[in-house]
């Protein structure tokens, strides 16, 4: 694609990776799948290694990462949104946070440079899992009638307003939520990847186009460097947002009054 004299690859080339193994099957492996597997291996390795060193009083190495993650999820996510009751969801939320984080962070790892969550598979799968969990928690803690009543007819709202509020709540709680959750993560990672690719191509094109271009390529390269740092932040932030929204939804199902 020729955009302002730049040979820009088509969008599909930036996100759809050729199959590496099991070609044409429903379990074909591509780069995205390899990143998912890497995210599992890294997270599991961190936690299994960290859990092995139980004797030391002062944490060291990967223990810091695992314990900081657990403390962060507990203090900044669970206790802030659900409370003491939410601690039983800690393993799920911790797994989700680390899995999303490592799937995202490959966006800035040299040689890989692709966020697996810029593909819709994991965002939508996790969002649907979250949808099932918070609805199950709501029905279990309040009963089906109570959950529907509290969800569709929020207490404290004037009765006349239910005409407006109830349809909105119905759509937002039971239909839109999983999609907004998934699309937020997916779109952020897509946008980040596109930004990095744009500045990378711009830098490369200018650098290879003569002395003026070489000098001028400093500007897009500086932007590329800055955006790489920014995308690290986005990767962490999106993992956090997905996790905390999950906790908020679960908390809302557990405590309808709030």
């Amino acid at each position: 694609m020729n955009v302002l004299a730049l040979e820009f690859p088509p969008i599909s080339h930036l996100f759809e990776w050729p199959e590496i193994a099991f070609h044409g099957t429903f379990y074909a492996i591509n780069k995205t799948v390899l990143i998912y597997i890497a995210a599992v291996v890294i997270t599991a390795a961190i936690f299994l290694l960290a859990g092995r060193k139980t004797g030391s009083l002062v944490p060291a190495g990967v223990q810091h990462v695992a314990e900081a993650g657990v403390t962060f999820i507990e203090e900044s996510v669970v206790m802030e949104t659900i409370g003491e009751e939410g601690k039983k969801f800690m393993p799920f939320l911790t797994t989700m946070f680390f899995f999303i984080l490592f799937s995202n962070i490959f966006e800035v790892i040299p040689g890989i440079q692709f966020p697996a969550n810029s593909r819709m598979a994991i965002p939508i799968t996790l969002a649907l899992v979250v949808w099932v969990i918070y609805n199950y928690v709501g029905i279990r803690s309040q009963g089906l009638g109570g959950y529907l009543k509290n969800s569709l007819f929020p207490p404290g709202v004037p009765v006349a307003l239910y005409l407006i509020v109830t349809p909105i709540e119905l759509v937002s709680t039971f239909i839109v939520r999983p999609f907004s959750l998934a699309i937020r993560l997916w779109a952020n990672m897509v946008a980040g990847h596109l930004l990095l690719v744009t500045f990378a191509i711009l830098s490369h094109t200018m650098f290879t186009s003569g002395i003026v271009g070489k000098v001028g390529s400093i500007a897009p390269f500086a932007m590329l460097t800055m955006m790489t740092g920014f995308e690290i932040l986005v990767s962490v932030l999106q993992a956090f947002i997905f996790t905390i929204l999950t906790a908020v939804y679960i908390g809302g199902s557990l405590h309808p009054a709030h």
Binding site: M1, F22, Y27, I37, A39, L48, A50, T54, T94, A116
Partner: protein, 241 residues
Amino acid sequence: MTNRWNRLLAAPLLALLALLAFAGPASASGESVGSCMAEKLEELIEESHGDLEEVLHELHVDTSIGDHFEKNCIEAPSPILPETNEIIWGGSAFLILFVLMVKKGFPAVRGAMDARAEKIRSDLDAAEQARVDAQSVQSDYEARLADAKTEASQLIDEARVAADQLKGDLAESAEVDIAEMRERAAVDIESSRAQAIADLRSEVAGIALGAAERVVHASLDAEVQSRLIDAYIDEVAGTDG
């Protein structure tokens, strides 16, 4: 009509596809074959007022190619739709990780954190207990020290009183002794003096008698001599006064 519109829509896509299909290393003129083809194709379409069929006819291209690109380009999978293989692998990966975390990873890390927190808590409790004990021991020692100081002070006071008493007693006793000694000495002196006087008197009497005997050669009896001597001595004593 619809088919015609579709073909018209397919035209720029056809150009795009041509560009992409032949996009490669830049040619000597700095233009790729694909982009050149696309530009020429666009020019032809413009010249024929957007009639793709006419262009394709002129180029001797089978007009069904438009349908082919429409099917393969326009109906390309949307990037927002998830791929089945990625859902299966991603979902399985998450599930496996979740099971690993629930069974092994999370309890191990959490257990280590809890154990450490418990150890720190118990160490702090032990340190607090040790501090309380040490404080108690210190208070005990301080109390004992204060008692010892008080006792020592009392002992010193008692010793001082006793010493003063002793000093007083000794002084008094010494004074009594001195007085006695002085008295005895006076008595002794007086006695010695009397004895000395008696001895002297006796001596002087003997000397005087002997002298008198020699002078008077008289034969005074001893009684007269003694009386005369005593009278002389008394006289002498009275003159010494």
